[in-house]
């Protein structure tokens, strides 16, 4: 008796399923069979009234039928929903025509962004040669030739074809750009110098023998240390967001006095301490300071007439922090899977 009942329910379902044409039909089918008062639900609710010897068999079949209906409903619903998206014949879920556009290198993008911030507040952008003299790269910047302070600026020298008295080298920082501009122009000066620099460093995840720097300086009458703090704070907040905190620490650079290293609160952990900031909560981002009088002297400015500040930053480091890049070599491998993310 009960087996027959089940079989008739099954037939009923097969027939009903064939007539489902839309989401509403599916819903009606659901209510009819497995809703609270549905026929299959009702049958299962009254399973206790079946003879004990049939109970396991019909119970099993009834449950199988219920699961079959549930699966059917899910599949149909998904089908109708996706059909609905094709909007009557045009399947808008298929991808559009693929247009290939290129992109600037991430380092170019970061350098452009840095330069744009300074341009907004009146700095001029100037490019300077990569092949430099010892005078511009060291001497004019108050870096004595034989002193440990030069060790930080290990430098590639060019093998000279001609026998020139002064050695040519690949600039080890963008600061010679400062010297060149000051030799040519009188203050007021507000200038940013972006570009490639070179140091004989063994290549690993955080070192490269070629990298990029952005140098900047402001020279005028009565430029103050407080101006340095103000301008660099403005810059960091523009680049990393208004929420960051700043820290200025005394440091040593031969071409500035006082010299300050500039930290920002870690943008990864917001100052709590993480692996990126070495659990310190701070990230070193800029070197800076008030331009040393010896630099003014080297470029031929009159004594005590001008003051100014200068700063420099590593573009790779900033890009790595901004984009969560953990290996500097990625910038120079030019893997399209990397470049296309920018």
């Amino acid at each position: 008796m009960s087996v027959e009942k089940i079989e008739s329910l099954e037939k009923e379902f097969i027939f009903a399923s064939g007539t489902c044409k839309n989401v509403a039909d599916v819903e009606a089918l659901r209510i009819k069979f497995i809703g609270k008062k549905g026929s299959v639900s009702d049958f299962l609710a009254h399973l206790g009234e079946e003879p004990p010897e049939e109970k396991p068999i019909v119970g099993k079949r009834a449950n199988e039928l219920k699961n079959e209906i549930i699966t059917f409903i899910k599949e149909k619903e998904a089908e109708f929903k996706s059909v609905a998206k094709t909007g009557g014949g045009f399947d808008i879920t298929l991808p559009g025509t693929k247009y290939e556009i290129g992109q600037r290198h991430p380092l170019t993008q970061v350098m452009d962004e840095i330069c744009a911030i300074f341009r907004h507040i009146g700095f001029k952008i100037v490019e300077s040669p990569e092949i430099e003299t010892e005078f511009n790269n060291f001497t004019a910047l108050n870096i004595p030739l034989e002193h440990p302070s030069r060790d930080a600026f290990d430098t590639f020298y060019l093998e000279s074809s001609r026998s020139t008295a002064s050695h040519l080298l690949l600039r080890s920082h963008t600061s010679p750009g400062q010297v060149r501009v000051m030799k040519q122009y009188q203050p007021p000066l507000a200038v940013v110098v972006p570009g490639r620099v070179y140091r004989p460093d063994a290549v690993d995840a955080s070192h490269s023998f070629m990298f990029h720097q952005v140098e900047g300086f402001l020279v005028d009458k009565e430029v103050r240390f407080s101006d340095l703090k103000g301008v660099l704070t403005y810059f960091c907040q523009e680049l990393f967001g208004k929420g960051i905190r700043m820290r200025f620490r005394p440091h040593f650079f031969p071409f500035t006095e006082p010299s300050a290293e500039v930290d920002i609160s870690c943008i990864i952990c917001e100052g709590k301490g993480c692996s990126v900031c070495g659990r310190k909560g701070w990230l070193e981002i800029l070197g800076s300071g008030m331009i040393h009088p010896n630099v003014f002297k080297a470029v031929g400015y009159p004594k005590d007439k001008y003051t100014g500040f200068a700063f420099g930053m590593g573009v790779e480091r900033i890009a790595m922090l901004k984009y969560g890049i953990n290996d500097i070599r990625l910038f120079f491998e030019n893997d399209l899977r990397f470049l296309r993310q920018f």
Partner: protein, 667 residues
């Protein structure tokens, strides 16, 4: 330099926790780069900048801390001097390399292990305890910053010391057991026969003090920083001693440290001071006095600092304000602060101890710099924009490369400039072409199975000792996915957008390009670059497989000379435009430019545009011929052009093509 928290307390009272101490030192410019906590002890690693050799010891750090926390600096007894007869066992041959050398001899001492407390201190500082004599010199190295050395007197030939340059061919085995070759650039300490130490850097193995030593000679000296710096570079050797000598040690400390060393040695190892020899050629000089104007300091910092504050900060650092009149101060600089040379240096001291973070913040009124915009930057930005718009990804390649990369390319352009001191062969030359960057990027991508690579780079190429800003474009694809037209088309877009005229492409063989697929780009007959297909030989030696590679390079500085920034809009003509196509089959050797020249010359002013819309070859075209379709646009500026007029010109052109160029017109 490593500083242990408890040892530092010997010289200054510390009320800060180790964490707070680290922060405080960092904000003074003594950056704590790491801190190790081992139960009861905290050891701070401090990065001392090159200008502050006075902080390469406990007293120096303690002095800074005492000044910052308003505590008293506790200096150990230094001037007590054990008496002894004057000896004559030292001789200085190079007074420039060694202006002062003090030798003191203790006889009958007992060498053994140091007390546990001293051993702990040395270990915390990262030094290995050796014996009570050596440990005292190391202890004082850390405490006072004066490196000293002890010799086993009985192993010194002639029981004497000669400070001189090494002789050619001399060698020494240093205490680390390594044999080192010396030369006359290196200053050595020698006995009667041979070098027994590399001056200021490391002692010799043979004369070192060990448990059998009975009589010692203690060396305390001032060595010329440049001489030590050169020696270290030459030998590739550095030590705690050389690190300090290179940065200048404090001259009076040469004497004082030696006094303290003898006192401690006599206390712990016994024996008797028997002879002293002090050769001093007078290095000390007069104490430097610097004038400081508080108004100037205020202008530089953006905040005034009171006279009282100036005196207290400078005083606490061991500087003496010898006189002050209103805003003018005379400051006497102690010998250990050789970094303080002029007024700004004193301003920095004030700023440091007021606290950089406490100084105010201001936004200056930035005036307009009278520097013209660099036109090359404007050009670069536009070129980059156009390249990106044509679907190219910008790459950055290395400026320094391995010479092999040029050889594999079969480069036949200018010879590269070599680097004198590369770290590896990968940096041995400066690239004369940007092609190497494109090719290495292609190889990298190919190794990840990316075969469709369209890239460009804007960077310097180096010829002789000049750098030229250049543009390079590279297209790589599987066969027939990419063609030379894809490259030429991009170059055309570039010159058109930059309003550059007079551009011509003409065959010019290059070793690295395939035969017949190498072309020069000229503007008004001036060479500005080249394009072509990478030769099969170069492709093979660079490990490319079936890919086709097209490359171009352009001198951007040459483009800058001909770029036209002005734009004048041409009036738009609103009379109807008539199009007529010409499909023709013509001999391969008849150039497209010849056809277009003929069309434009003979059509008259009504032909306003000639566009190649199709080129074809294949079964229907006989060998040695090519099929081309041009779309001609006719328009009159002042009236509606009739179909008949256009048809007449079209007919005339077709006939001329047949007559003059032997073309076959497909109707």
């Amino acid at each position: 330099m490593k500083i242990s928290y408890s040892w530092l307390k010997d010289y200054v009272a510390i009320k800060l926790s180790p964490e707070k101490l680290a922060e405080r030192l960092t904000l003074l410019g003594l950056e704590v780069v790491s801190s190790e906590n081992s139960g009861e002890e905290t050891v701070l690693e401090i990065e001392v900048t090159a200008n502050r050799p006075d902080c390469l010891n406990y007293i120096g750090i303690a002095r800074e801390l005492a000044a910052a926390t308003n505590q008293k600096l506790k200096i150990p007894p230094l001037s007590q001097k054990a008496k002894a007869a004057k000896g004559k066992f030292i001789q200085i041959e190079d007074k420039n390399g060694c202006p002062q050398y003090i030798g003191k001899i203790i006889e009958g001492c007992k060498v053994g292990a140091s007390a546990a407390g001293l051993q702990k201190k040395l270990k915390d500082a990262g030094l290995r305890p050796v014996n009570n004599i050596v440990d005292i010199t190391n202890f004082l190295l850390m405490e006072l910053g004066q490196p000293m050395h002890t010799f086993d007197l009985d192993k010194l030939a002639g029981k004497k010391i000669i400070v001189r340059r090494a002789r050619p061919g001399e060698i020494i085995v240093t205490i680390d057991g390594i044999e080192r070759k010396l030369d006359p650039e290196i200053l050595v300490i020698s006995d009667d026969k041979k070098p027994v130490a590399i001056a200021g850097v490391m002692g010799g193995k043979e004369t070192e003090v060990n448990e059998y030593t009975r009589n010692i000679l203690l060396e305390s000296a001032y060595f010329n920083p440049i001489v030590i710096h050169r020696t270290c570079r030459k030998l590739g050797l550095a030590s705690e001693s050389s690190y300090r000598f290179e940065r200048k040690v404090d001259v009076p400390m040469v004497t004082l440290a030696s006094n303290r060393a003898i006192n401690l040695m006599l206390q712990t190892a016994g024996g008797k001071l028997t002879a002293v020899c002090d050769i001093d050629s007078g290095k000390a000089g007069l104490a430097l006095k610097i004038a400081l104007n508080s108004e100037k300091a205020a202008t530089l910092l953006g905040q005034e600092i009171t006279a009282g504050k100036i005196k207290s900060i400078l005083g606490s650092l061991g500087l003496k304000v010898s006189s002050s009149k209103g805003k003018n101060f005379k400051v006497t600089i102690p010998s250990f602060r050789s970094d303080l040379k002029e007024e700004v240096d004193l301003v920095e001291e004030l700023a440091r101890h007021v606290g950089f973070d406490r100084l105010p913040l201001s936004l200056p009124a930035i005036k307009i710099s009278r520097i013209p915009e660099q036109p090359i930057r404007k050009l670069t930005a536009q070129v980059r924009e156009i390249m990106v718009a044509t679907g190219l990804s910008e790459i950055i390649g290395y400026s320094l490369i391995n010479e092999e990369d040029l050889k594999k390319l079969n480069w036949d352009g200018t010879q590269p400039v070599r680097i004198q001191n590369p770290l590896s062969r990968d940096q041995e030359i400066m690239r004369p072409t940007l092609l190497t960057g494109l090719l290495s990027a292609m190889q990298n991508n190919l190794s990840h199975n990316l075969t469709d690579v369209k890239i460009f780079e804007i960077a310097k190429a180096y010829q002789e000792e000049c750098e030229t800003l250049s543009l390079s474009i590279g297209l790589m694809g599987e066969k027939s996915q990419v063609s030379l037209w894809d490259l030429k088309g991009r170059l055309e877009v570039l010159v058109n957008k930059l309003r550059i005229t007079g551009v011509e492409f003409s065959p010019q063989p290059k070793n690295f390009f395939a035969a017949g697929k190498a072309f020069a780009i000229t503007i008004d007959q001036q060479a500005v670059g080249f394009l072509g297909e990478l030769s099969p030989a170069a492709a093979a030696s660079l490990d490319f497989k079936h890919q086709q590679i097209f490359l171009a390079e352009l001198n951007l500085e040459a483009l800058l000379r001909v770029v036209k920034w002005e734009r004048k809009v041409a009036p738009l003509i609103n009379f109807p435009l008539i199009r007529r196509d010409i499909s023709l089959i013509i001999k391969e050797e008849v150039s497209g430019s010849l056809i277009v020249d003929l069309l434009q010359k003979e059509a008259g002013p009504l032909l306003i545009n000639t566009v190649l819309t199709d080129r074809y070859s294949g079964a229907q075209i006989p060998a040695g011929f090519k099929g081309l379709t041009y779309s001609l646009e006719f328009q009159a500026p002042d009236r509606t052009l009739s179909d008949n007029e256009a048809n007449a010109i079209h007919e005339k052109l077709c006939n001329l093509l047949v007559e003059r160029l032997a073309a076959k017109i497909r109707r």
